[in-house]
């Protein structure tokens, strides 16, 4: 034996370069950057301040929810209710403020609604053993219906005395001309990344996704963590709903319809594995960015909008294909 036991134990499996090249997130980021460079030359309208402002802002709603979704997916779960929860939380905010309450009360009611919905999902999944797909599919239907009940299926665009404050919260640009939603997204992404890497909670989220039985046997509070994870997911939908309400200046009962699929697509493109155990906060952002760049560029390049779904679907399959190829190489 040429190396001692000491050296073997201290050896790292791969250097930082290997880690970067092996990361799906990095490749997706690279393709986003390449697409942006290409579009800057191919069209006059892509690299304009207005278009970039639009893109960055449009990314945020999907990206913020994708952060919560990524945590759920890492535990091996799924949350199909986020689009409807976004709608319900927006509507609660709108109705409460429309009734004359302050923005603080409105946001508290909205966040409270999100947490209750998330806790309901989580308790059914963690303690009663329901499949996440079924519980959140039910909630997809329930939450949107409740939003219709709360608003009597009308459009709310008057937000009471704090109307302007709400619009500034979502539509303003308080910091170097960067749209406010983008700032919220960056702060939330940094926080999510920190939690996943540096806290016990984050470690347990990965452990549950890797081997739930093992996590239970080693004393990880699996059920509590699972409830928390679905509360976080609903909370991310609620926060996105609040910001989106401020940005749009109106709430209808069909906002966020079908959004869950975009959010899941963003998380998966960003490297989250639906089988559980793998995912990153940066991946959620970059996945959302890729989807938005595809959508934006098709319009600018004059390609029929009907092709949008094909390109986004292709991106999902390609991203996962990359992961398959890497696993295939490893298993050889």
């Amino acid at each position: 034996m040429t190396t001692t036991l000491d050296q073997t134990i201290k050896q790292k499996q791969q250097n930082w370069l290997g880690a970067i090249l092996g990361s799906q997130t990095v490749w997706i980021l690279l393709s986003v950057i390449l697409a942006c460079i290409f579009l800057s030359f191919a069209t006059d309208s892509f690299a304009t301040a207005k278009n970039l402002y639009n893109i960055t802002r449009n990314v945020t709603f999907v990206a913020i929810i994708a952060l919560g979704m990524t945590i759920v997916i890492i535990t091996g779960g799924i949350d199909l209710s986020v689009g409807s929860v976004l709608c319900l939380c927006s509507m609660v905010l709108a109705v409460v403020m429309h009734a004359g309450y302050s923005i603080e009360v409105g946001i508290a009611a909205s966040i409270g609604t999100a947490l209750v919905v998330g806790a309901f999902n989580g308790v059914l999944i963690a303690y009663l053993g329901f499949p996440p797909f079924v519980v959140t599919l039910g909630m997809l239907s329930i939450a949107r219906s409740l939003a219709m009940v709360a608003s009597n299926n009308t459009v709310v665009f008057q937000f009471g005395p704090d109307h302007d404050r709400l619009l500034a919260l979502g539509g303003g640009a308080w910091f170097f001309g960067i749209a406010n939603p983008v700032l919220y997204m960056i702060v939330l992404a940094l926080f999510t990344g920190f939690v996943l890497r540096w806290t016990k909670f984050g470690r347990y989220v990965f452990a549950i996704g890797g081997n739930e039985h093992a996590a239970t046997l080693t004393g990880v509070p699996v059920q509590g963590i699972k409830v928390a994870v679905y509360m976080i997911s609903a909370l991310s939908a609620g926060v996105a709903g609040i910001i989106q309400t401020g940005w749009l200046g109106a709430v209808t009962t069909n906002i966020g319809a079908g959004m869950e699929l975009q959010v899941i697509a963003a998380a998966v493109i960003g490297g989250a594995n639906l089988a559980g155990g793998v995912g990153t906060a940066s991946g959620a952002l970059i996945g959302a960015a890729l989807i938005e760049v595809i959508r934006n560029s098709l319009g600018l390049l004059g390609i029929n909008a009907f092709w949008q779904g094909t390109f986004i679907g292709g991106a999902i399959v390609l991203a996962v294909l990359f992961d398959r190829i890497r696993n295939f190489r490893q298993s050889e």
Binding site: L5, T8, I9, R197, W198, G210, N211, V278, Q330
Partner: protein, 247 residues
Amino acid sequence: MVAVLELTNISKHFGAIQAVNDVSFALEAGQVVGLMGDNGAGKSTLVKMIAGNFRPSHGTMLMDGRELALHRPVEARQHGIEIVHQDLALCNNLTAAANVFLGRELRRGVGPLKVLDYKSMYRRAGEIFKELKSETRPRDLVKQMSGGQRQAVAIARTMLSEAKIVLMDEPTAAISVRQVAEVLNLIRHLRERGIAVVLISHRMPDVFDVADRVIVMRRGRKVADKPIAASSPEEVTGLITGAIEQV
């Protein structure tokens, strides 16, 4: 020698099924006990009572002379009783060090602002692997490890705190011949540290290779408890199948 753990007239029934019936034995420090028996003989149930998964229906357990009542696996761990599960209970997506410390992560920081202490966990896991003389790298993902290395990770868990008793459920069931030798070596290391080891196994050669004593169970009862040197594989086989009634 002083007994680390003493079981007296332990029984366990699930409804009408008598899984363990009036079993008594003592574990001594630095002794490896092979626990053998056919499927359904009560081995796993017995070990699960010691590990805090089940509570005995009757009988008492004494640890260092004091009565031991375990309600949850965590309590067994606090008393220095560690278990290596048959499926090892490893998370493939985590590093070796993360698996070793799972549920007992080291953290640093002040007050409520505590973050995972990666450096200390890598270092401590490395020290344990070195002590086990296992070529296992703390930073590697468990997914890419051999059966022997995976066993080392699971066994390393038991060495985080000062364990007195390590219970091992079929540690050599599904691994290659070379890795079996590795695992038996790991068991010898535990013995050298003065830990009492209970080795559940179906594999006669492993038990006769590493154990000091053998206990045979059949249909919930203890039918033999003798030094390995005073027994033979033929005798143990007879006891397991019932060809020999009791010794």
